[in-house]
């Protein structure tokens, strides 16, 4: 009984590559193969393409082209931001003087694991808690900031719950503290999930460093961006040629960078869909909470505090991985924060930080819709989910 339905509700994991974007990328995978560093015509046509991509991103972020660095992924951007800053600051510090970082407990692994790794190298990391809504409290941050704080990194929106963090408020707070302080605090945000929906003007937000991803915004995989405000000391992690303002050596992935630039400039065209997407998500949430007994919503209820496209639930008596596979057999693609999908067999650190019990985290389901989602798909999901949960509850006897 193969199901022909194919419903993709995992847009927080990755998005479909936009056909027009692919079309713009194709010449750089075929005829326009010059190395952008070459002086001849072949090189010029690819280096011009890179210039355009830098401009596209700079316009989106309201910054200069020279403040935009293309990387190989959002994870790489996070690494360059955090490790690159620490590397640079260390060179100016006295021997034995520690670097100090504050991050939230719900950061993406690219930030979390990078900081954990740096702890082994004499960096002090403070982990900010979140409320039961998954949002960082600005007061908690203010209490943790001390004269030695070097870097604050808080994600713009969480990838598991869609919880939007008070980045602008944090930016203001840090700017205020920096005014009266010789020792500057730098502020980084990972905006990989937020970019589709939220304003990413770096001056409005007051960030020094900002991460973007290509494949979360209908662009290609294998490309990310790090915005680096002028004058922020970042040491390169990959040394070699002069590419990307000497911050990321290696011949550029021209086609992917072209795709990233196009994806960024297309965001404006799907922003008008935000209200439609949010109302679809609200309908989905209402359907699930009514139709599935003992279900619980794990994301902020206030629309200002959550992304329009991500919903996260827990269903008593059902294990998340089993539910994902059972729904996959019905043609529905979703994901879970259950331990059974992780190598460490630990449930989602995000849900645990929000105060969920381990069984609740094991039974979690993330539904992330996208600009191509239709009401019909929501209806199909709302029809299939209750049956599937019911079937698994019969097997679990719970």
């Amino acid at each position: 009984m193969k199901n022909k339905k194919k419903i993709y509700f995992d847009n927080a994991a990755t998005t479909a590559l936009d056909k027009d974007i692919l079309k713009k990328m194709m010449p750089y995978l075929k005829d326009k193969y010059g190395n952008p560093s070459s002086l001849h015509k072949f090189g010029r046509e690819t280096s011009e393409a890179l210039d355009i991509a830098h401009e596209q991103v700079a316009r989106f972020l309201n910054c200069k082209e020279t403040e935009v660095v293309f990387t190989g992924s959002a994870s790489e951007s996070d690494n360059l931001a955090i490790r690159g800053l620490i590397k640079s600051l260390r060179r100016a510090k006295r021997i034995g003087e520690k670097c100090n970082i504050i991050i939230s407990q719900i950061e993406h692994k690219a930030v979390l694991e990078t900081c954990k790794d740096l702890e082994k190298e004499n960096v002090k990391v403070t982990y900010l808690p979140v409320g039961s809504d998954g949002v960082v409290h600005i007061d908690d941050l203010e209490a943790e900031i001390n004269p030695e704080t070097d870097l604050v990194s808080v994600m713009y929106a969480n990838n598991e719950t869609g919880a939007v963090q008070p980045i602008k408020k944090i930016g203001h707070l840090i700017a205020k503290i920096n005014k009266n302080k010789e020792h500057r605090i730098y502020f980084h945000t990972d905006a990989a999930q937020a970019a589709n929906w939220l304003d990413c003007d770096v001056n409005e937000l007051g960030v020094d460093l900002l991460t973007l991803s290509g494949h979360k915004i209908y662009g290609p995989k294998g490309v990310g961006v790090l915005y680096i405000r002028d004058g922020i000391p970042i040491a390169p992690l990959t040394t070699g040629g002069d590419q990307e303002w000497k911050l990321r050596a290696g011949t550029e992935n021209v086609a992917a960078i072209v795709g990233m630039g196009e994806a960024i400039s297309k965001i404006a065209s799907h922003r008008p869909q935000t209200a439609r997407i949010r109302s679809l998500k609200d309908k989905l949430i209402a359907d699930v909470l009514i139709k599935v007994e003992d279900s619980k919503l794990n994301c902020p209820k206030n629309p200002e505090n959550n992304l329009p496209n991500i919903a996260n639930f827990s269903f008593r008596g059902v294990e998340g991985e089993a539910l994902v596979l059972a729904l996959d057999q019905e043609g529905i693609a979703v994901s879970t924060g259950s331990a059974c999908t992780s190598l460490a067999l630990l449930p989602s650190h995000v849900l645990i930080a929000m105060g969920l019990t381990e069984p609740e985290a094991h039974s979690s389901l993330r539904v992330s819709i996208g600009i191509n989602t239709t009401e019909e798909e929501i209806n199909y999901f709302s029809k299939i989910l209750p049956k599937t949960v019911e079937r698994l509850r019969k097997i679990s006897g719970r």
Binding site: E319, A339, C340, L345, E358, P359, K394, I395, G397
Partner: protein, 122 residues
């Protein structure tokens, strides 16, 4: 990640459910790790054979498939024979579980042994 056989036992398990008035019940797992499983057994007093066996498992696809498989392997066997079923037998019968999921096979044999150890000669 999973082969056809695992998916088949996960999708259409034959032995799930409760047995009313079971002779023995076995437990394994804990809610922290996400897997919780219970086996219900009916034993023929004379032959000491497992007449009927059912499971209830809160767990991933591998845990559900392994539960179904341990029941399939145990039914009809004497308690002594069933006690010899190892996690490798369960895994092999399922056409090998992914390395990360071997503990699911261990869990189901643990539950079976827990049940067998509780059986008192009457």
């Amino acid at each position: 990640m999973y082969n056809k056989k695992v998916i088949e036992h996960f999708t259409k398990p034959k032995f799930f459910g409760k047995i009313k008035n079971p002779d023995i019940v076995g437990h394994a797992g804990n809610p922290r790790c996400g897997d919780l499983l219970t086996l219900y057994l009916k034993i023929d007093k004379k032959t000491r054979k497992i007449k009927n066996i059912k499971f209830e498992t809160l767990g991933c696809a591998a845990a559900i498939a392994a539960s179904d498989m341990v029941c399939q392997l145990a039914i009809g066997k004497t308690l002594e024979e069933a006690a010899k079923i190892s996690f490798l037998n369960v895994s092999d019968e399922l056409g090998v579980l992914p390395p990360l999921k071997i503990h699911c096979a261990q869990l189901v044999t643990e539950a079976l042994r827990d049940a067998i150890n509780k059986y008192l000669p009457q």
